[in-house]
């Protein structure tokens, strides 16, 4: 039982449990908090994969930014308590069947695909590598991303403008 295995399983259980709580929870605000936990667990998974930078970004942006924004949105749209998952059996059963089906097929695919790769050893500083690629090979998407964020910012502020 190496540390790695324990770490993986801890984070995995946390992730799945939090995800379950997100989708089944009745209280929307509680769902958001469970989501935050799920996102942090994901960051932990990234750490087990030696992707520290990604983990950091995950925590910063997702757990920090997205969750905050969602909370604000909930506050604005009220209706916190009393909101229930759709109780019409059509929705639950249908969604459950489709989700379960997809899961089964995916798992089948994973196990039959025969992609048993060994983990290669780390070479050098991953973060440094990422930074370099980002500004050399992937500089164009990088810049476009900036544009995208600008556009998103403008659009969001336009959408949410005060009524006149």
């Amino acid at each position: 039982m190496t540390l790695e295995v324990i770490a993986f399983w801890t984070f995995a259980v946390l992730l799945v449990g939090a995800g379950l709580a997100v989708v089944i929870g009745r209280n929307l605000f509680h769902s958001v908090l469970w989501l935050a936990l799920a996102l942090v667990s994901t960051a932990g998974i990234f750490l087990t994969l030696d992707a520290e930078f990604i983990a950091a970004v995950q925590v910063l942006l997702y757990a920090g930014g997205v969750v905050t924004v969602v909370v604000f949105a909930i506050v604005v749209t009220e209706r916190l308590v009393g909101e229930r998952i759709s109780q019409t059996s059509r929705h639950l059963a249908a969604g459950g069947i489709v989700a379960a089906g997809v899961l089964i097929l995916l798992l089948r695919g994973i196990t039959h695909a025969g992609i048993a790769l060994p983990r290669p050893p780390l070479e050098g500083d991953l973060t440094r590598q990422l930074g370099t690629s980002l500004l050399t090979r992937y500089v164009l998407p990088f810049e476009l991303l900036a544009v995208l964020l600008l556009v998103g910012l403008l659009a969001a502020s336009y959408f949410a403008r005060p009524e006149e």
Partner: protein, 643 residues
């Protein structure tokens, strides 16, 4: 003249066509009326000249082999499927002569008879006359059955248009349509016959078919049906029972039209067809027997009907039906040449009679014999030519009809059809009787126009009324009666002299039929019948030795039946209303409720299905996401996830 007969025939054929085309295409010419008339007359007269030259060219050194000139028309894999052209032989050149002669005379006559028609109508009349001449000649010289059929139909159309010339009058319009539809009924048979024949033998061409018949190459199975179908077409056009009902009503047309169409040309087309194909009919003697019996029966039926008519044109119409029956009987007996001979003589003297009747109607202003009387003194020329015509019709020696009628009677007897022979003999008696009844009532006797009471009920249904036009401007007073002007009397004299000439020629030089000569009592019997009829008419109507009323009441049941035209028209109307229309209603119901119903049900289901499928579009985003998930599931399952 050494001109090629084919060219001459083509010239004769195409001149009236050109005239019709020009008159039809140029409205100013048509509206000019008299100009169109003279143009048409010029063309038909030139056509007549060409026909005479063609006849002489063909018969110049003894009648030779038939000449066929044909140009390919409808192509097919093994040579042309159909051709157009001309077939020049003895029959066609002779018939061409008759057609062009009568057409020319009628057109000249019409300039005077229709003088008070408005000009545009006159132009239309001459256009139609030219077109009719062309189409009739097309039938005459057709080298194959397909071209014959096309021209045949064109003849039917032209006759309908000419009969219904005064189309504003409802009786005329109805008569025109009746003529068209009754002949159309026969034409269906003709078309079926032609098609079946082509399928059996592979050709439409008359020369080839004749050759096949001579070498026994035509399959005999089903040939009776083919010939019977061809006869059906002929029976329609030539007014054989039961398709004769259109001819009396067709008297609604102008009298010159009747002279052309119902004496010499259109009604003879059926007889001509049978003469043309007699070698085919010779292979099916049972059909020929039908032709002969039906011909004799028609002759007697029409003669009976003619005895009770008061309208002079109707008498002539029934007389035409009767004589057509004679021609058909001769053909049915197997002697087509005798039938053709009678066709030619009948064409001349019947046209003469019609034109003469026209002159009388023009002068008196009425068709009814009761309105006429003593016209011989006022209209001597008309009386003379009319008498020539009547004597020809009665079959008296020295006049045109004598030799041909004898030939017909002889052929029927020698052909072995004894009962039809006696029917025809009795019809000859009646023919003489009713014609001379008309002569005595109209031309002789007391001249009390308008006062004379008819010996017959005026309630004979359906008298023709082309008098309406001629009552205008013609007073009914006796002072107005005189012989018609030259354009009318000219043709009358021409025809009269031809009739006389033919009669004299054949009395001096009777046609060579040794088998008929063997029947010694034939000629006296025929002449006796004719004279007997004349005598009876004389005694009844001129001398009044026999009371007409007593005669009428002696045959009362037949008379009543004849006055109702033996209820044939009523049968037709009943068939139409209760059989045909009922059938149409049934078909209409099926169409509306079954055929349309199926479509309506399918469309209703489609709409309903669409409505239901529409509910899939709930508008809710989650349902769409779910659908995407389902699609993903399906896709993965299909791929089998066996990467």
């Amino acid at each position: 003249m050494t001109m090629d007969p084919v060219t001459l025939v083509l010239v004769a054929l195409l001149l009236p066509a050109a005239s019709a085309l020009v008159i039809g295409v140029m409205p100013p010419l048509r509206r000019a009326g008299r100009t169109a008339a003279w143009f048409s007359i010029a063309c038909i007269a030139a056509s007549l000249t060409s026909a005479i030259l063609a006849w002489r060219a063909f018969h110049g050194d003894g009648a030779g082999e038939p000449i066929r000139a044909a140009w390919s028309w409808l192509p097919s894999a093994h040579g042309p499927f159909a051709t157009v052209g001309v077939l020049v032989d003895s029959t066609s050149t002779t018939m061409l002569l008759l057609v062009t002669l009568v057409a020319t005379l009628v057109q000249i006559y019409s300039t005077c008879y229709l003088s008070d028609e408005p000009s545009p109508a006159l132009g239309r009349y001459y256009g139609l006359q030219s077109l009719f001449a062309f189409s009739m000649m097309g039938v005459v010289i057709a080298p194959n059955l397909l071209q014959l059929f096309i021209c045949w139909e064109l003849v039917g159309v032209c006759s309908c248009l000419l009969i219904g010339f005064w189309y504003r009058k409802p009786e005329a319009a109805r008569a025109a349509l009746k003529a068209f539809w009754t002949t159309k009924l026969g034409d269906v048979g003709l078309l079926i016959g032609i098609v079946l024949l082509q399928r059996a033998t592979g050709t439409f061409d008359l020369v080839e078919l004749r050759h096949l018949a001579e070498v026994q190459q035509i399959p005999l199975a089903g040939l009776s049906i083919i010939t019977f179908c061809l006869y059906m077409g002929a029976a329609g056009k030539s007014a054989q029972f039961p398709l004769h009902v259109w001819l009396p009503d067709a008297m609604e047309g102008p009298t010159p039209v009747s002279a052309l169409i119902h004496a010499a040309t259109m009604v003879t087309a059926g007889v001509y067809l049978l003469v043309r194909t007699d070698w085919l009919f010779a292979l099916t003697p049972n059909v020929l027997a039908i032709v002969c019996w039906n011909g004799a029966f028609t002759a007697l039926l029409a003669a009976t009907l003619a005895c009770v008519q008061t309208d002079i044109k109707r008498v002539l119409a029934y007389s035409t039906v009767s004589q057509l029956g004679y021609m058909m009987a001769a053909i049915g007996a197997g002697f087509a040449s005798c039938g053709f001979f009678h066709l030619l003589t009948h064409g001349v003297f019947k046209a003469l009679l019609f034109l003469g009747a026209g002159a009388v109607i023009h002068a008196v202003g009425s068709n009814d014999v009761a309105d006429m009387g003593g016209l011989a003194k006022k209209m001597p020329q008309t009386a003379i030519v009319f008498l020539i015509g009547t004597l020809s019709l009665a079959g008296i020696p020295l006049f045109a009809g004598y030799a041909s009628k004898e030939a017909v009677l002889g052929s029927v007897w020698v052909g072995g059809f004894h009962i039809p022979f006696f029917l025809l003999l009795f019809s000859a008696f009646l023919t003489a009787f009713y014609m001379f009844r008309v002569v005595f009532l109209a031309f002789f006797g007391a001249s009390d126009i308008g006062h004379r009471t008819s010996d017959i009920d005026r309630a004979a249904p359906g008298d023709s009324h082309d008098t309406a036009h001629h009552a205008h401007g013609h007073a009914h007073d006796p002072s107005h009666l005189h012989d018609a002007p030259l354009p009318m009397t000219g043709p009358l004299w021409v025809l009269g002299l031809i009739a006389l000439g033919i009669g004299l020629y054949f009395t001096v030089r009777p046609p060579d039929h040794p088998e008929f000569e063997a029947v010694r009592w034939l000629s006296p019997a025929a002449i006796g019948m004719g004279l007997g009829g004349i005598l009876l008419a004389y005694l009844t109507y001129q001398r009044e030795a026999i009371s007409a009323d007593a005669l009428a009441s002696a045959f009362a049941p037949i008379r009543t039946a004849a006055l109702h035209k033996f209820w044939l028209d009523d049968i037709y109307v009943g068939l139409y209303r209760h059989v045909l229309l009922a059938f149409s209603r049934a078909i209409g119901w099926i169409d509306r409720y079954l055929v349309d119903g199926v479509l309506n049900v399918i469309s209703a289901w489609t709409l309903d299905g669409g409505d239901r499928l529409r509910r899939m579009q709930t508008g809710k985003v989650q349902d769409y996401v779910w659908a995407v998930g389902l699609g993903l599931l399906a896709l993965m399952a299909w791929i089998g996830v066996t990467w």
